[in-house]
């Protein structure tokens, strides 16, 4: 809606009913949430540590554990470039992420912002997140699989603006169509479930070794929850990961339930996302000065919200006394 149209509404209330509203629908709110997360990521990228050579060494140079040689080689190549000029490189990273946030939040640039968001997410997923560790054999939902930045890309696709009418479905179906959107949901959640039952994740201390110590330098209540879960998970890694896989798989297939049940599935997905973020990821470990993003929990929750079923359009009620 351009400025003249807005002005027409504001200055002449009689035209308000005839002029398109400056709509902020559910999709737009989710786009704004994604934009805000990019802004937060940009701010995290401005931390002192990120401008030092240690950042490149820690975040880009360690990739490759258990990966094919060609993946490792490409990651080390990227690490070499960033390590050569860490200040310039990181300033570019931070600026780009802030720009993505503002582009998505500025309506005329939303498509550019989402498209750039997809490209940048895939670049970071490859070079910065080691493909989310998917090839390492150790990735799991708690550890941030399939890589937080990949979820940014998925979300950008799900929230792509279209004029398609989806008043009886959900936001994610607007861009992809109902069937494809459901398949994306299925692949995501069942994929997470399958990662949980990889052989490496079925050892007795698989969960404990990942969670223990994660609460350090985090808020007291988070540290308490994480440490409590770490204590509970000792020697129960296989059972917990299998139980988690069952829950994730049920959420995945739940999207094919009748519409009236999808809300329950979405709520379950949000609860699981919150559990993953708080207990498994310690709020993305943002405290400590070395975190570049808030990890996958909030992104999973946003994706779930993109599947919240819309209310069907109201059917005009019959007036009293009217003949059928």
């Amino acid at each position: 809606m351009d400025q003249r149209a807005v002005a027409a509404v504001v200055t002449d209330p009689r035209r308000a009913a005839d002029t398109p509203r400056f709509v902020t629908d559910r999709r737009r709110w989710l786009q704004l949430a994604l934009a805000a997360i990019w802004i937060i990521d940009g701010l995290l990228q401005c931390q002192t540590f990120m401008f030092t050579p240690s950042f490149a060494k820690n975040f880009l140079g360690v990739g490759g554990g258990g990966d094919p040689a060609w993946v490792t080689a490409s990651i080390h190549w990227a690490w070499g470039i960033v390590a050569a000029s860490p200040v310039l490189g990181n300033a570019a990273f931070a600026t780009l992420q802030l720009a993505l946030g503002f582009a998505i939040s500025w309506r005329p640039a939303v498509k550019v912002g989402l498209a750039a968001s997809i490209v940048w997410s895939l670049v970071v997923w490859w070079f910065g997140e080691d493909l989310g560790g998917l090839l390492s054999g150790h990735a799991g939902a708690l550890s941030g699989a399939p890589g937080a930045v990949l979820l940014y890309a998925i979300l950008a696709v799900l929230l792509w603006p279209t004029g398609r009418d989806t008043s009886t479905t959900f936001v994610a179906a607007q861009s992809l169509g109902l069937r494809t959107a459901k398949v994306v949901w299925l692949v995501l959640w069942v994929g997470l479930a399958s990662l949980n039952i990889q052989p490496a994740n079925l050892s007795a201390d698989a969960v404990h070794s990942m969670v223990a110590g994660m609460g350090e330098r985090q808020p007291g209540w988070v540290a308490g929850l994480v440490n409590g879960f770490a204590a509970l998970s000792a020697h129960h890694g296989a059972g917990l990961n299998i139980a988690g896989a069952v829950v994730l798989a049920l959420i995945g297939v739940g999207i094919f339930l009748p519409v009236r049940w999808i809300g329950v599935v979405v709520v379950a997905a949000i609860v699981v996302s919150a559990f993953i973020w708080v207990i498994g990821q310690a709020l993305g470990e943002v405290f400590g000065g070395e975190s570049t993003d808030i990890n996958s929990g909030p992104l999973l929750a946003l994706i779930a919200l993109a599947y919240w079923p819309s209310r069907p359009p109201a059917v005009p009620a019959q007036t009293a006394g009217a003949k059928p």
Partner: protein, 215 residues
């Protein structure tokens, strides 16, 4: 710790520019008898000066000890003012007024300023090597991390919301944040886009400062 010196300096200069812009808005609106949100502009002037002082220690605006306490008192008063304004807005809204002011974000920003100043006052260091004046560069400042994180989320959310509604703000002022696409009945204030840009810059800069506390 407030991040790399060069980055803190750039953002500090940006804060001075934002404060000057807010000051110019006050003067122009006063001389031309144009409608303006004076209390928000005054808030932005003081916030710009305070943050510039925190980010650029050599300005000696915010130094250790009594100076920090003095700024803290100033911000407690400003926060109290905006708290009253928010209550007033709520009662006006309950009475059916559509334009009810734009004070809640500034109340939160004022609260964030108190948080940062309390963190400074509570710090024991006096060096200003790589950061905020009066704070040892190796010292952690975060004392209520969840609140700190909540402030950061708010600043990011507020910034993207203002950017989203710029076309409306350009016509009806910052009240567009609450009166979506509807006539507000309020007089359009002076240079609404400039006011919006100042608020965006303030929010992002505050988000930056709070994020630097994460260390």
């Amino acid at each position: 710790m407030i991040g790399p010196i060069w980055l803190a300096t750039i953002i500090g200069v940006l804060m001075i520019v934002a404060a000057v812009v807010a000051m110019v808005r006050i003067v122009v609106a006063w001389r031309a008898r144009r409608a303006s949100d004076f209390e928000v502009d005054i808030h932005n002037v003081v916030m710009g000066i305070t943050m510039a002082g925190m980010l650029i220690p050599s300005l000696l605006i915010v130094t250790a000890g009594p100076s920090t306490v003095a700024w803290l008192i100033v911000w407690i008063l400003i926060t109290a003012w905006f708290a009253v304004s928010v209550i007033r807005d709520a009662s006006r809204r309950a009475a059916g007024h559509r334009f009810t002011g734009h004070h809640l974000p500034h109340l939160v920003m004022s609260g964030a300023m108190i948080y940062t100043l309390v963190a400074m006052a509570g710090s024991s260091g006096t060096a200003a090597v790589a950061g905020m004046s009066g704070v040892d560069s190796a010292e952690t400042l975060v004392f209520l991390p969840t609140l700190d994180f909540a402030f950061v989320i708010f600043m990011a959310g507020y910034a993207v919301l203002v950017v989203d509604r710029l076309p409306l703000i350009a016509v009806v002022g910052m009240g567009a944040l609450y009166n979506f696409g509807r006539p507000t009945g309020a007089v359009v204030p002076l240079a609404p886009r400039t006011a919006a840009a100042t608020n965006i810059v303030m929010a992002v800069a505050m988000g930056y400062m709070l994020t630097m506390f994460f260390v």
